[in-house]
C-alpha cells in the first residue's frame, strides 16, 4: 500500500479523534454548561478540621485536675458570607467591623474556615441553627475547652490556653499550628503543648453554593478521626497541693515540696494567684488589665520566677565553705553581743542582747549574724561566691516550666563593675555572709539547697512531669531522672550541716523550734530576709525525716516577718499533712 494512503488514514484517524474530543468538550461546556455550573455551586466538598481533645493533666494519684468539656465555636468562610453579616453580628453581639477584624486576623486562604467566636452560648447556638438558611458561609463546630474539676488551683503550674499568635505561627511548622488554634500560653500547657494537643482530624462534608453544610447530622462523606493528645501525669500530689493552697490563702508567698529521692515536685504553691477558669472563656481586655496591673502580682509565679534575698538560710552555704576550708575556719568561736562594728558601721544581730560565745554549730542553730559576719570576712568574697555556685545558686533548676529565673550570685568582678574597682567595702561581704544584698534566689532554688543537704550532695533536676500516656494505647513515656553529685563538698561537711539543721529545729535554742513534731525528726533552717521596701520576708527550708529524708521543702512568706515565727509553723503543718496523707495512702 502506498505511503500516501497510510498518511491519509492517519490524518483521518487523528482528525476524527480530535474532532470527537472537541465535540465532547463543547457538549460539556456549552450544551451542559448550566447543569454543571449548578453542580459546581451545589456540590462542594469541604474539609472541616476536627479538633482533637487535649490531653488531660492528672496528679500522681491519677486524679484529673485539668479536664475538657465540649463547647461550640462559630466559623465562617469569608467569600461565602454574602448577606450573613448583619444577622450574624446581631446574634453574636459583635459589630460588623469586629467580625471583619477577626477574619483579617485569622484568615489563611479564601476558602478556609475562620473562627469567629469561641464558646458561644446555648442561645447563640440555637439562633444560628434556627436561622441557618439565612446565614450562608456560617458554620459551628464542637471544640473542647478546658475545665478544672478539682479544687486545686495552681494556675502558675498548669497555665492557660489562648489563640496562637503570629510569632508562634511563623516559628513552627505550618502543619502543626493554624491561625485560631488554641495553644498553651503559660505553664505546663505551654511546655507540653505539642504532646498535649494531639493531631486534628478531618471531616469531609458537602456544602452548598452558599457554604451551608447540607445533610448535617446524616454522616460525613469521609472522616479521619482526630488523635487525642497525650495525658500528662504529674508528680504533684493534688491533696497536699490543695492543703497548702488553703494554708496560704490570704498570704503572699508559697511553698515547694519535693521528693528527695528523685526531684519530683510534690506540691508547689504560689499566692496570690488567680482562677484559671477565667481564661477558658475568650479573654476580655478588662480582665487582663485587672490581672496584670494588680499590685499583688497574681500572674507571677513566686516560686519559680520571683527573686528574693535568701536571708539566713544562706548561712548553710557559708558554713559549708568554712567546713571545707578546715582548720582555722570551722573550729573558731566568736562572741556575739548583739552587734558587730566594722569600720564606722554597726552590723546588727537579730538578737539584741547577743548570743554570747558560739562555735559554728551553735551559730547555725541560733542563726547568729555576728558569728557569720566575722566568718564571712575571714572567708572573703571569692570563697563565698564559689560556694554559693556550688549549691547551684545562679543556675535555673531546669524545672519543666517557662521563664524560670536563674537568680544571681555576686562575685568580685560584679562588685568591681557595679561599685567601681576597689570602691566597695567589706560591708558588702558581711551582708552576703548572712544572705542579704545582691544575692538573689528563687524559693525553688532554696528547696534544691534543702534537697542537696538532705541527700548529702545528691541533686536531681526538679520536674513536674512523671510520665505522658497515650490515651488509647496506654503507652507511657517517662522522663529520665539522673542524679548529679555536687562537687567539692565532702560527706563530713554535709553531716555537719545536717546536724546543724537538726539543732535548728530540735536544739534548746534553735530558731526553728516551731517546726518541731513529736514523731518525726525534722531538720531545717530559718531565714529572715530584710526588705528595703517593707516588712521582712520569712523563710524556712528543711527536710524530713532527719535520718533518711523523704521530702525537702522551702516555705516562703513575703513580708511575713521572722522565719522562725511565721514560716516554720507552716512547714510543720506541711510535714504533718504529708505524713497524714502518706499514712492514709499506705493503709
Amino acid at each position: 500500500m502506498l505511503l500516501n494512503i497510510r498518511k491519509k488514514i492517519l490524518y483521518v484517524i487523528v482528525s476524527l479523534i480530535f474532532f470527537g474530543l472537541v465535540l465532547r468538550f463543547s457538549h460539556l461546556q456549552i450544551y451542559e454548561q448550566s447543569r454543571y455550573t449548578q453542580e459546581s455551586e451545589k456540590n462542594r466538598i469541604r474539609d472541616v478540621v476536627i479538633q482533637p481533645s487535649r490531653g488531660l493533666i492528672l496528679d500522681r494519684n491519677g486524679r484529673v485536675i485539668v479536664d475538657n468539656v465540649p463547647s461550640y465555636s462559630v466559623f465562617c468562610v469569608p467569600v461565602e458570607m454574602d448577606y450573613s453579616w448583619t444577622l450574624l453580628s446581631k446574634i453574636l453581639g459583635l459589630s460588623e467591623s469586629q467580625l471583619q477584624e477577626k477574619i483579617d486576623k485569622n484568615s489563611y486562604g479564601q476558602f478556609a474556615r475562620v473562627k469567629l467566636k469561641r464558646q458561644i452560648s446555648f442561645e447563640e447556638l440555637s439562633k444560628i441553627e434556627e436561622q441557618r438558611l439565612d446565614l450562608p458561609g456560617i458554620s459551628y463546630d464542637i471544640e473542647p475547652r478546658r475545665y478544672y474539676p478539682s479544687e486545686v488551683k495552681a494556675p502558675h503550674i498548669f497555665g492557660y490556653l489562648g489563640e496562637a499568635d503570629n510569632m508562634l505561627l511563623k516559628s513552627m511548622d505550618r502543619s502543626i499550628y493554624h491561625p485560631g488554634d488554641l495553644v498553651g500560653k503559660t505553664g505546663l500547657e505551654k511546655v507540653y503543648d505539642l504532646q498535649l494537643r494531639g493531631i486534628p482530624g478531618h471531616r469531609f462534608v458537602e456544602v452548598d453554593a452558599l457554604g451551608r453544610e447540607v445533610n448535617r447530622g446524616q454522616g460525613d462523606l469521609e472522616r479521619i478521626a482526630a488523635v487525642p493528645g497525650q495525658n500528662l501525669h504529674l508528680t504533684l500530689d493534688g491533696r497536699l497541693q490543695l492543703f497548702l493552697e488553703e494554708q496560704f490563702s490570704g498570704i503572699s508567698g508559697g511553698a515547694v515540696v519535693v521528693d528527695c529521692s528523685n526531684g519530683e515536685i510534690l506540691a508547689m504553691v504560689s499566692k496570690p494567684d488567680y482562677d484559671l477558669s477565667l481564661f477558658t472563656k475568650p479573654l476580655t481586655h478588662d480582665l487582663w488589665k485587672t490581672l496584670s496591673e494588680d499590685t499583688t502580682k497574681p500572674l507571677f509565679d513566686r516560686m519559680v520566677q520571683s527573686l528574693y534575698p535568701p536571708g539566713s538560710t544562706f548561712k548553710l552555704a557559708v558554713a559549708a565553705a568554712a567546713l571545707e576550708q578546715g582548720k582555722g575556719y570551722d573550729d573558731m568561736t566568736f562572741t556575739c553581743d548583739g552587734a558587730y562594728r566594722y569600720g564606722n558601721r554597726m552590723f546588727d544581730c537579730w538578737k539584741e542582747e547577743g548570743h554570747g560565745t558560739l562555735d559554728l554549730m551553735g551559730a547555725i542553730e541560733q542563726s547568729c549574724n555576728v558569728y557569720f559576719y566575722q566568718l564571712g570576712l575571714k572567708l572573703g568574697i571569692d570563697i563565698l561566691s564559689e560556694y554559693a555556685r556550688k549549691f547551684r545558686f545562679g543556675l535555673p533548676t531546669q524545672i519543666d516550666l517557662m521563664e524560670e529565673s536563674a537568680g544571681f550570685v555576686p562575685d568580685r568582678d560584679y562588685l568591681n563593675k557595679t561599685y567601681g574597682f576597689g570602691n566597695w567595702t567589706q560591708g558588702l561581704v558581711l551582708n552576703l555572709a548572712v544572705g542579704q544584698g545582691d544575692l538573689l534566689v528563687t524559693p525553688l532554688q532554696m528547696a534544691a539547697l534543702a534537697m542537696i543537704i538532705a541527700n548529702k550532695g545528691i541533686y536531681f533536676n526538679f520536674h513536674l512531669m512523671r510520665y505522658l500516656e497515650e490515651p488509647v494505647s496506654r503507652v507511657q513515656s517517662w522522663g529520665q531522672v539522673e542524679p548529679t553529685r555536687i562537687d567539692g563538698i565532702s560527706e563530713s561537711t554535709f553531716d555537719k550541716l545536717r546536724q546543724g539543721m537538726f539543732k535548728v529545729v530540735n536544739g534548746e535554742n534553735g530558731t526553728g523550734r516551731a517546726c518541731r513534731l513529736p514523731n518525726i525528726q525534722i531538720a531545717g533552717k530559718t531565714g529572715t530576709a530584710q526588705n528595703p521596701h517593707g516588712d521582712d520576708h520569712a523563710w524556712f527550708i528543711g527536710f524530713a525525716p532527719y535520718e533518711s529524708p523523704e521530702i525537702a521543702f522551702s516555705v516562703f512568706i513575703e513580708n511575713g516577718g521572722g522565719g522562725g515565727a511565721v514560716a516554720a509553723p507552716l512547714a510543720r503543718l506541711l510535714i504533718e499533712e504529708y505524713y497524714h496523707l502518706e499514712i492514709s495512702r499506705r493503709q
Partner: protein
C-alpha cells in the same frame, strides 16, 4: 560527525512556537492549580517547573542538531539504557506505594518517561533496517518485544496507564512501517475480544464482527478459522487474567467502563473533573477564579488533571486552543514522517508524534470520562520534570527529522 551543518532557517519554527505556547499554558495552569494550596508550595512547584523547562531547552537544542546517523547508531543503546533505568526502579525506586521514581543525588525522575524515547528510537531502528519484512511473524514479534519489555516492567511497578501508552504506541509505528492490513486486523482483533469478554452479548457480537472482518480479507477458510480460535481463546482467558490485576487497576477499568461508580476514588475525580470543565462554560471562570480548582477538589489537579483546571478557568476557548496546538504538532509529525526519505527518521517522527498523540488523547479524554483514569500526564502542560523533558526531546526528534527530510 555529531552535529550536522544545518541552517537555522531550516528549523521548523512554527512547531517550536506551538511547543512554547503549550509550556506557557502549562505554567499558567500549574500556577492556578497550586495557588489553592498555599504560597510556599506554589513557589516551590512553580519555580521547579520553570527550572525543568530551562533544562529541557538545553536537551531540546542538542537533540535538534544531532546528526540523524548518530541517533540511528545509538538507538539501541539509548533503549537499553532507559530500560535499565526503568528496571532499577523495581529495586531502588522511591514513591508512595508505587515505585516510579529514581533518585540520583538531588534529582528525582521517572525513568518510564525517558523510556518512551528509547522505545521510539529502538522501534524506528529495528523497522528501518534493510530486509525488514513485516509479513514475517518473527519480525512482527521482534518489534512487539521492543515494546513488551518495558510493558512488563511497568506492570510490575505497577503503572497500568504508562503500560497502556507503550502498547498503543506499536500500532501506528508498525502501520507506518508497512504492516499489511490483514495482519493489523490479526493484532487488533484480540484487543476487541478482550474488552468484549465481560459479557455474553458483547462477546457474541464481537465474535461475529471479527469473523466478518476476517472474511472480508478473503484469505481462505484456514485464515478465518485460525483467527477465530485465537480470539475465542483470548476472550475466555481474559477473566482469569483479570483476577490477577491489582484491586485499584480493576477498579479504574470498571469505573472507566461505567460498571462501577466510586464516589471517593477515580469516580470522584471524574465527577469533580467534569463539574470543573462543564462549569467553565465557553469562556471560563477566569484565571484563579475556578471554584473547583481553588477549593482543591481534584487530588492531582496540577499533574494528571491539569486539563480540568484549564477547562474551568479558561473555558471551551482555552480547551479548543490547547487541543488545536496539539493537533498541529501531531499532524506536523505525520507530515514530516511522510516527507522524509530516510526511513529511520520517518519512523522516528511517527513514533514521537504517536507518543504525544496517545498522551493527549488519553489524558484529555480522561478528564471528561471518555478514557480511563489512568494517571498519565498531559504533555508539556502537566507538572513534572521528566514528562516535560521527554516531550520536548520527542518534539526535537520530529524537528530533527524534518530538517533532514532529503537525506537518505
Amino acid at each position: 560527525m555529531i552535529y550536522e551543518n544545518t541552517k537555522i532557517s531550516a528549523v521548523d519554527i512554527i512547531i517550536i512556537i506551538a511547543m512554547i505556547l503549550l509550556v506557557i499554558a502549562g505554567l499558567v495552569s500549574i500556577y492556578s492549580a497550586v495557588h489553592a494550596s498555599g504560597l510556599s508550595e506554589l513557589h516551590a512547584n512553580f519555580s521547579r517547573q520553570i527550572l525543568w523547562f530551562a533544562v529541557g531547552v538545553v536537551f531540546f537544542v542538542c537533540t535538534t542538531f544531532l546528526s540523524i546517523r548518530l541517533i540511528s547508531d545509538v538507538s539501541y543503546w539509548i533503549y537499553f539504557f532507559t530500560l535499565v533505568l526503568l528496571a532499577s526502579t523495581l529495586f531502588a525506586g522511591a514513591g508512595a506505594g508505587v515505585q516510579r521514581w529514581l533518585v540520583i543525588g538531588p534529582v528525582q525522575f521517572q525513568p518510564a518517561e525517558f523510556c518512551k524515547i528509547g522505545v521510539v528510537l529502538a522501534l524506528a531502528k529495528y523497522l528501518s533496517t534493510e530486509n525488514r519484512d513485516l509479513n514475517r511473524p518473527s519480525h512482527i514479534f521482534m518489534s512487539g518485544l521492543i515494546v513488551l519489555l518495558p510493558v512488563l516492567l511497568l506492570l510490575k511497578q505497577p503503572d497500568l496507564g504508562t503500560a497502556l501508552v507503550f502498547i498503543s504506541l506499536i500500532l501506528p509505528v508498525i502501520f507506518w512501517a508497512g504492516l499489511p492490513l490483514h495482519l493489523m486486523a490479526i493484532l487488533l482483533a484480540p484487543c476487541i475480544s478482550m474488552i468484549a469478554s465481560f459479557h455474553y452479548y458483547s462477546f457474541f457480537a464481537a465474535m461475529i464482527f471479527i469473523a466478518l472482518v476476517f472474511a472480508l480479507f478473503r484469505r481462505g477458510l484456514k485464515f478465518l478459522l485460525g483467527n477465530m480460535v485465537v480470539n475465542i481463546a483470548v476472550a475466555v482467558t481474559t477473566p482469569f487474567l483479570w483476577n490477577a490485576l491489582h484491586a485499584y487497576q480493576k477498579h479504574r477499568i470498571l469505573t472507566f467502563l461505567g460498571m462501577e461508580l466510586d464516589v471517593h476514588g477515580s469516580g470522584y475525580q471524574l465527577i469533580q473533573s467534569k463539574v470543573a470543565i462543564g462549569s467553565g462554560g465557553l469562556l471560563g471562570k477566569g484565571f484563579l477564579e475556578g471554584t473547583q480548582t481553588q477549593l482543591r477538589f481534584l487530588p492531582a489537579q496540577h499533574t494528571d488533571f491539569i486539563f480540568s483546571v484549564i477547562g474551568e478557568e479558561f473555558g471551551f476557548v482555552g480547551i479548543f486552543l490547547i487541543l488545536l496546538l496539539f493537533y498541529f504538532i501531531i499532524i506536523r509529525g505525520i507530515h514530516v514522517a511522510f516527507n522524509c526519505r530516510n526511513k529511520f527518521a520517518s519512523l522516528m517522527s511517527i513514533g514521537a508524534a504517536s507518543v504525544i498523540a496517545i498522551h493527549v488523547i488519553i489524558n484529555t479524554g480522561m478528564t471528561v470520562g471518555v478514557m480511563p483514569v489512568t494517571g498519565i500526564p498531559l504533555p508539556l502542560i502537566s507538572y513534572g520534570g521528566s514528562s516535560l523533558m521527554t516531550n520536548m526531546i520527542l518534539i526535537a526528534l520530529i524537528i530533527n527529522a524534518s530538517m533532514r527530510r532529503y537525506h537518505i
